[in-house]
């Protein structure tokens, strides 16, 4: 997979879900089948479709706070990066936490489910499906998502597509790359890091490990470190996340990372190189420790093969030098290994899910309608 361009105008997250809903109002669906691969993540939701569309949006849904905000925004619901930009006028919902749908008290649970529903419909709408086409979707879910969560996702998805299947996210990444045997996938998201052992058959629970050492963990660690080292600096977790996404590294950084944070309203430069490095590095040992568990519990004859094909995917894998840092840690604790960073970390899961959707036989789709 390369960075091929989709054939659409880039779809904005401002499109209301109903506008692009494939199922809404469809009466005749004999003109084609649109496959959709969805990676619904804590931080971003990405879609790949068989009409060439590939889009990603922040997993954030906002509802206008009052009538004035509603009039100003001219919409009842705002999605993605636009919702983040206009957050002061909105009640914001991030319906996913640790890669799964949030459940809270009765009211919040309902609101999160409603937001997740809207988010998934917006994601499907971004695919710009024709009304006369069947929409078959495969959604990647975290390796160890609970049945309650899977049910919620299915309930939500069934309103937007004709037939839906769930599969493990890291498995989808491996399937998309045709690495079905003797490979280990590390899918680093915002909420969770999923590890999956591929050995030619469907991964079982024992082949998969989910860690919470992921993007959000790094944000929190970095925020705590900056509070200590950047005296008087004012920042939010969102600012820390944006800084991390721009400068994160664990290897090969020669220039110091200097960022401006306001101090009593006036921007001041701070050198955050050390804090950034230390915070990002904290995810490496638990990941390699989990890799060790998956390798160690595998057939000893093939353990070296697993170690030599470790795939690094997910938005969190964009930390510069992470592949090298994991290799170094593997050398120390596991006697070596090779880490391969996939070319499109953000779309790896969605591309894999799309490929699974394509390869699924017709009768299977029909039975799950």
């Amino acid at each position: 997979m390369s960075g091929n361009m989709d054939t659409s105008e880039p779809a904005g997250a401002d499109q209301t879900p109903m506008e692009g809903s494939a199922v809404e109002g469809a009466t005749d669906k004999e003109h084609g089948v649109l496959y959709v691969g969805v990676d619904m993540g804590t931080s971003r939701t990405s879609v790949s479709a068989s009409n060439g569309v590939r889009e990603t949006l922040a997993s954030v849904v906002g509802y206008p706070k009052d009538v004035v905000a509603r009039k100003l925004l001219k919409r009842d619901v705002v999605f993605g990066d636009e919702a983040l930009e206009k957050r002061l006028s909105l009640n914001l919902y991030r319906p996913l936490e640790h890669g799964v749908l949030k459940s809270g008290d009765e009211h919040d649970g309902d609101k999160n489910l409603e937001a997740a529903n809207a988010l998934l419909r917006a994601a499907v709408a971004m695919c710009r499906a024709r009304k006369d086409e069947l929409v078959y979707a495969v959604i990647g879910v975290p390796a160890q998502a609970s049945i309650h969560n899977k049910r919620s996702i299915i309930d939500v998805a069934r309103e937007s597509v004709d037939s839906v299947m769930l599969c493990s996210e890291p498995f989808a990444v491996a399937y998309g790359l045709d690495m079905l045997e003797d490979a280990l996938v590390i899918d680093i998201g915002a909420g969770t890091t999923d590890l999956c052992r591929m050995h030619g058959t469907m991964p079982e629970d024992s082949d998969q490990i989910t860690l919470t050492y992921a993007g959000d963990f790094v944000d929190r660690e970095l925020s705590a470190a900056l509070e200590q080292s950047c005296e008087g600096a004012q920042f939010t977790l969102g600012m820390v996340k944006a800084t991390k996404e721009k400068y994160s590294f664990v290897h090969g950084q020669e220039e110091p990372v200097i960022v401006d944070f306001p101090v009593a309203g006036k921007p001041q430069p701070f050198d955050i190189t050390k804090d950034l490095l230390e915070s990002c590095k904290k995810v490496v040992p638990p990941i390699v420790e989990a890799l060790g568990r998956l390798v160690g519990s595998f057939d000893p004859e093939f353990q070296h093969k697993l170690r030599s094909r470790v795939l690094l995917a997910g938005g969190g894998s964009q930390i510069r030098g992470l592949d090298r840092a994991i290799e170094d840690e593997m050398k120390t604790t596991l006697g070596g290994g090779t880490v391969i960073r996939i070319e499109e970390p953000i779309y790896g899961g969605a591309n894999g899910a799309l490929k699974i959707a394509h390869d699924m036989p017709e009768d299977f789709w029909e039975k799950l309608k």
């Binding site: 499109q15 084609g32 024709r130 938005g315 799950l368």
Partner: protein, 265 residues
């Protein structure tokens, strides 16, 4: 095939869109592979020829080959044409929207002018009436005073009488003024009615145009959608090198999902 090649090149150009390095980075794309148009065209042509050759092996006649190649070309051109039609409709809608927006802007300006004209005329009338009344009152007061002075009634005692006479005459004068104002109003009534009718018409036209604009804006967002490259459900390619393994995996995924549905139920 020359025509097809040109059409293919045009299609690839039309279907592509411009992007920036920053936009790509935001989408998480750090590296892009570049393929030349000529290469794509050559690859598609080669693929079509090879497939035709392979599928027709042992059966081919020149006529059949020609027929299939022709059908393929027609289908491609049909798809291309449908894409062009969509593009055209989209552009037309854009044009219509711009025209309507201009019309709304014009109507708004005209409405403001008419409203301003009405307001200015009414305030001018009121101002003129006020000034005229003050002048007349002053004049009347002086005449009454002059008249009584001629009769030797200009001392302190007659000052109250002057005021009383002035008040009496002024009362009658006000009645007359109201009559005159009404008469002048009637004089302008035709013009005011005309302006009011024009105003109502403009308001109606504005509302209708804004409605139309809303409809076009809404229609613009109702994109007919991008067709999938598949007309039928696909399934695994039997020539896939991992066919057997993938078949097993597909069954496993399906069974897991079926189990999940049962558990949910």
């Amino acid at each position: 095939m020359g025509k097809l090649t040109n059409k293919l090149q045009e299609a690839v150009k039309k279907l592509s869109y411009s992007t920036t390095v920053d936009q790509l980075k935001r989408k998480g794309i750090q590296k892009v592979n570049v393929v030349g148009l000529d290469r794509i065209v050559a690859l598609i042509e080669a693929a079509v020829h090879r497939t035709l050759k392979a599928r027709m092996a042992g059966l081919e006649t020149a006529e059949m080959c020609g027929e299939i190649a022709g059908q393929t070309r027609d289908e491609f051109l049909r798809l291309l044409h449908s894409n062009e039609s969509l593009e055209k409709a989209h552009q037309e809608m854009h044009g219509e929207k711009s025209a309507l927006e201009e019309q709304v802007a014009l109507l708004r300006t005209e409405l403001q002018t008419v409203q301003g004209k009405l307001a200015s005329r009414e305030s001018q009338l009121a101002r003129e009436a006020k000034v005229q009344a003050a002048e007349e009152d002053q004049h009347l007061h002086e005449e009454i005073h002059g008249l009584l002075a001629q009769r030797g009634m200009d001392d302190e005692r007659t000052r109250g009488l002057v005021q009383e006479v002035f008040g009496l005459v002024r009362g009658h004068l006000e009645v007359e003024r109201t009559r005159v104002t009404e008469a002048r109003r009637k004089e302008y009534q035709t013009e005011v009615e005309l302006l009011n009718r024009r105003l109502a018409k403009l308001n109606g036209a504005l509302a209708a145009t804004e409605d139309q604009l809303q409809r076009v804006m809404k229609a613009k967002t109702l994109h007919p959608g991008l067709p999938s490259v598949y007309k039928k459900v696909q399934g695994l390619d039997s020539h896939d090198s991992l066919f057997a393994k993938k078949t097993e995996l597909m069954e496993s995924i399906f069974e897991a999902n079926l189990r999940l549905r049962r558990e949910i139920a």
